[in-house]
Subunit: 219 residues, 2 copies
């Protein structure tokens, strides 16, 4: 029974890693679509989001069956509940990548990024992609040093988010309403992406260490 | 054992209703703070959000203990997993109310709502409050007619969200960058609030009917 449980927990972990790989691919392609006005890439990201939704359903169903059939307690149970939370966060990260792709598609053949903001969004794309890559690494290795990297990516995203707004509100800024709308939402999408990456990271750290610090005591 | 389980499920339902009442109070006060430049009310909403976070932790912990101690299967188990999802959505609705309150506070003593957008945001506040009230009613009565009302509120929020953006992008619009930023984010906060209300509603409908239609097959 225990062997079966271990095998099923391992499959659950694999499913989460598959979701994380999907998220990394989505944010990488959405960012490139945004930065290079590549509408085909944007379309791909938008079309692919349904796959991530399907993966979330698979994880959720696996969690319910695992609980029902194996009646886990203690850390096993908490791992499964954490997996439910992680799958929801990864699904949401995919949605945010999709929103970024939608902005790129709407602006095509123009750019959704107004002049003067290219560097900020290139930086956000870089930090978001790095966070997504590290989420995969953390899921695979459970190496807690990786978690610190995700927090640092999120800090970078928060700073770039503030900088995007500050630049927009400076006297030099002369963007159109559409441009202001784009910056407002795009910066927020990237910033939320970082928040969710940190959420995923904290749940994994909790599973590895039992330490709920910074996790608001939540699973 | 079954009686104890029923009693504990009932307490779980009460916790969710308490969370929903908190959300209703938060969105009502945040909206009033926004529409009437009431900075004290905005401060209250911001300060009170920690209570909702605490309630979410209570619900989560109750769910884990219920599963561990009672080892539920079938619909009982699915109800508990759905409760985890509902608590997360309610917590997020509280965050969105808090963001609205923060916008009101930032703009004080001015208004975060630019001239010409008052009616749209009054409409959004109305629909969001109605959705929050109906979420409480649905949790308490499990009356499926209430669920239809929540979907209709969300439709209203989506339409007002589109209208806010359309008005902003019309030739007549002459708002400042700060005003454009405020409209962009505030309209999105209300729109997301409606999305989460529908999410909560669908999970309750699923619990009552076993029907996952519109629920993307998820718990």
């Amino acid at each position: 029974m225990r062997t079966l449980f271990t095998a099923e927990m391992s499959e659950l972990a694999d499913d989460l890693t598959t979701m994380a790989r999907h998220v990394e691919s989505a944010i990488t392609r959405a960012s490139e679509a945004l930065l290079t006005q590549n509408v085909e890439l944007a379309q791909q990201v938008i079309a692919d989001d349904a796959k991530l939704d399907g993966l979330e359903e698979t994880v959720d169903e696996r969690c319910v069956l695992l609980i029902a059939q194996q009646q886990p307690v203690g850390l096993d149970l908490r791992s499964i509940v954490a997996s439910l939370r992680i799958s929801a966060a990864l699904e949401r990260m995919g949605d945010l990548a999709q929103h970024i792709a939608e902005s790129a598609r709407r602006a095509y053949p123009g750019s959704a990024i107004p002049a003067g903001h290219e560097e900020i969004f290139a930086g956000m794309a870089e930090a978001a992609k790095k966070a997504a890559t590290e989420v995969i690494e953390l899921l695979e290795t459970r190496d807690l040093n990786v978690a610190a990297g995700i927090v640092s990516d999120d800090d970078a995203l928060d700073q770039l988010h503030s900088l995007a707004y500050k630049t927009m509100l400076s006297d030099e800024y002369s963007g159109s309403t559409q441009e202001t709308l784009d910056i407002s939402l795009l910066a927020r999408y990237f910033e939320r992406f970082g928040d969710h990456a940190v959420g995923v990271s904290r749940r994994i750290v909790y599973l590895v260490t039992g330490d709920v610090t910074g996790e608001r005591g939540r699973i």
